[in-house]
Point group: none
Chain length 125, copies 4
Amino acid sequence: MLTIDVKSRKPIYEQIIDNIKELIIQGVWSRDTQLPSVRQLAGDLAINPNTIQKAYSELERQGIIYSMKSKGSFVASGVDELRKERKEQLFKEFGRILEEMREIGITSREIEERLQEQWKGVQND
Amino acid sequence: MLTIDVKSRKPIYEQIIDNIKELIIQGVWSRDTQLPSVRQLAGDLAINPNTIQKAYSELERQGIIYSMKSKGSFVASGVDELRKERKEQLFKEFGRILEEMREIGITSREIEERLQEQWKGVQND
Amino acid sequence: MLTIDVKSRKPIYEQIIDNIKELIIQGVWSRDTQLPSVRQLAGDLAINPNTIQKAYSELERQGIIYSMKSKGSFVASGVDELRKERKEQLFKEFGRILEEMREIGITSREIEERLQEQWKGVQND
Amino acid sequence: MLTIDVKSRKPIYEQIIDNIKELIIQGVWSRDTQLPSVRQLAGDLAINPNTIQKAYSELERQGIIYSMKSKGSFVASGVDELRKERKEQLFKEFGRILEEMREIGITSREIEERLQEQWKGVQND
DNA sequence: GTGGTCTAGACCACA
DNA sequence: GTGGTCTAGACCACT
């Protein structure tokens, strides 16, 4: 379920964080689902347990999971909160890209075309 | 002209690289313009000359500037090459964002709205 | 295994690069072999770690090795790619020399003789 | 007659040296021909006179030209000496290349082919 | 421990 | 003066 790329430039603990967020967003893990234990996951991924611990700590700091001593870690956020957050993030980035495109002289026509092209054949609207 | 943020997570030498590329893209510096000398720029930015050197070396490696010992460093690329490269990069990023937006269930309607909003009052199309 | 000459006009970091390429070409180090750490090699060669770092960075840029923070540096290229590249380089240089020889009036007979002489006793053909 | 490339990585003074040697080897300048004055050449090439001076000094050190105070510089070597020297140099380099080719497993057959190809249509043998 | 970045200061060849 | 190389020493994030 969790896949990491040790060769990536992105730190492993960040990959784990993103992976877990993704699983929650996609509804694979819902509220109060128990996460694999640090040791368990470390073993599965052949990763240093400290790295897993760091990822879990960060997730807990962000309020996305909660830990109970000697019980384990559990999903705190529901799909909705995370989705909303992610949506805002995406729109923010989207705006930044558009701004840069405008500065460099890309026309809205070009953007529209790209948009049509990418969305063609998809009917989620 | 060049501004760096020593507190940023992005390495200083990368900031310098991006800054210089930006100046060229915006047409401030054109082909064969002499860049500030390593020591000069280091003094201006209150940065160690080695850091500037590293940035210049990387820019030279990318073929964006050329350096002549005891002469100085000069702009090699024209605006066009850099603009084209940047454009492709932006479109690629644009596509990636769109893909992620689609996955998370953002409708093309929402995107269109955002697009209209951001572009309103601009007439470069 | 790695030897450098601090007195040479060729920069130390280039010597290191060439040395490492040679080790890979000769099959001493194969794909995914871990290179000595920056500090380790610096200690062995009595060279400043920054110099090693510079060599490793350049090798990574050329796609010959890959580095993972807090993991180490590893061989990326297989023997074959490097050999092929080297072969082309040698033939190119060979052609250049032949051209110069022709210009200065050296006859093909002389060259043939030299060739025979150098290859005598060798049976790799 | 003399052409230099300020963008080249080869130092300008070395380019001048090589250029002058070439002129002598090709018989354009023969023994006792007067070279252009330092100032003259500096003006023609738009180069710092110090650079020309350095080239002339080195040529004099190598015994290829001689200078007479307030008279100028003159060619000392004849074609033959220089040609011989160059020939040895070329053969030495040729041998080095062959050695490297052998080490990397290039067969004498491949070399022969390249040789034939490069010499085809030329009848100076 | 690892690689990566940065500083301060030095020396070099070149023009 | 210029760019290029190197050293010594430091700090950082990551594992």
